[in-house]
Amino acid sequence: MALSAEESGRLARLLSEHGERLTRRWTEIVATSLRGRLSQAELARQVQELHRSMIDAGENGLTDLSSEQGGELRAVLAELSRGRARQGFTATETAISVYALKDVLLELMEENHEGSALRDFVAFSGLIDQMGLFTFETYTRTRESLIADQAEQLLELSTPVVKIWEGVVAVPLVGTLDSARAQVVMERLLQTLVDTGSPYAIIDITGVPAVDTQVAQHILKTVVAARLMGADCIISGIRPQIAQTIVALGIEFGDIATKASLADALRQVLRLTGVETRRHQRRES
């Protein structure tokens, strides 16, 4: 429990009595810490909203931020820190918006000095600390969800399966292949094989920066799974260094066909399917 119902009532009274002056000073302090990256009007609106919901909470006898009466206040705080997190402010800059209230309150209480001022201030501080911690939590949660979203988007972006010929699909792999991505690639490739009825797949690893045993394992699994379904896989785009690494690590590709370039792989597949490729001599004029 941060403060008693009586104290929270006093806080609400203090906040509403000096409302105008308090929010102005509060906005000023926050504005200096944010160095003009948020418009004055926007900031003033946020501070006023926070101020209002604190008065409401105080009048309802708020004793602890996590209590039922704190619902409204928590919502306002959460919205504030979510906004800050999305706009790219740091955690400190977000928390300052709340902690600035302490300075303002101190100034105010020093002026109209009363006997119980110190005790009150400590109690108010307790509540403000709770509010600050709450903004921290919301801030981190927002950032985490942002990161998770981005990781998912990256996953979506980086694993296209393209059809390059009748009955031939290709997967150009770009970037490091970890277990999660390998799983997505595998599932998507196999699904495309079923959907398009393609009996041939080319896995192009030109864009994979390094091939270690784990990556090789993932690729091999994909090839074996495709074979079980009745499709053949060719691995292409093996760069010289990668070839050396593969040999040095003792990775065995067995009877899986490997080609240096996507073009070679495609030519091989076309030959297997019986399509004839011929070079036409261009007529010189």
Binding site: L190, L228, M229, G274
Partner: protein, 136 residues
Amino acid sequence: MERVPILKIGDILLVSIQVDMSDQTAVQLQEDLAERIVATGCHGVIIDITALDIVDSFVGRMLSTIASISKVLDAETVVVGMRPAVAITLVELGLSLNGIRTALNVERGMELVAAARGDEWDEVDGDEDVETTATT
């Protein structure tokens, strides 16, 4: 007890497994299939497992056994329609269905059987195969 139906299409026997396989069903299927191969003189068996959500070591062994039986009776076995999820699970389990040919769908399976029976080249994709040897 449920029985798996065996359909005859031309020179091929088509087995579509739609039910969960039990010991009894599997044994019954093996018996039925062997009898039908002999009775009809078919040279190809296509086992369609599109409807199977789960292929465990038991079903895997059953497929292998059927393939071996068919082989003895001079018929090619092709397993078709394996789902991606099933394939992934089999790979993760380390089961590789040795000695079984696979194809994406029934149509490709029939082509595969035809290709394996060299004497039927002319009917299905003989021309293509001749060209392949010519270009290589």
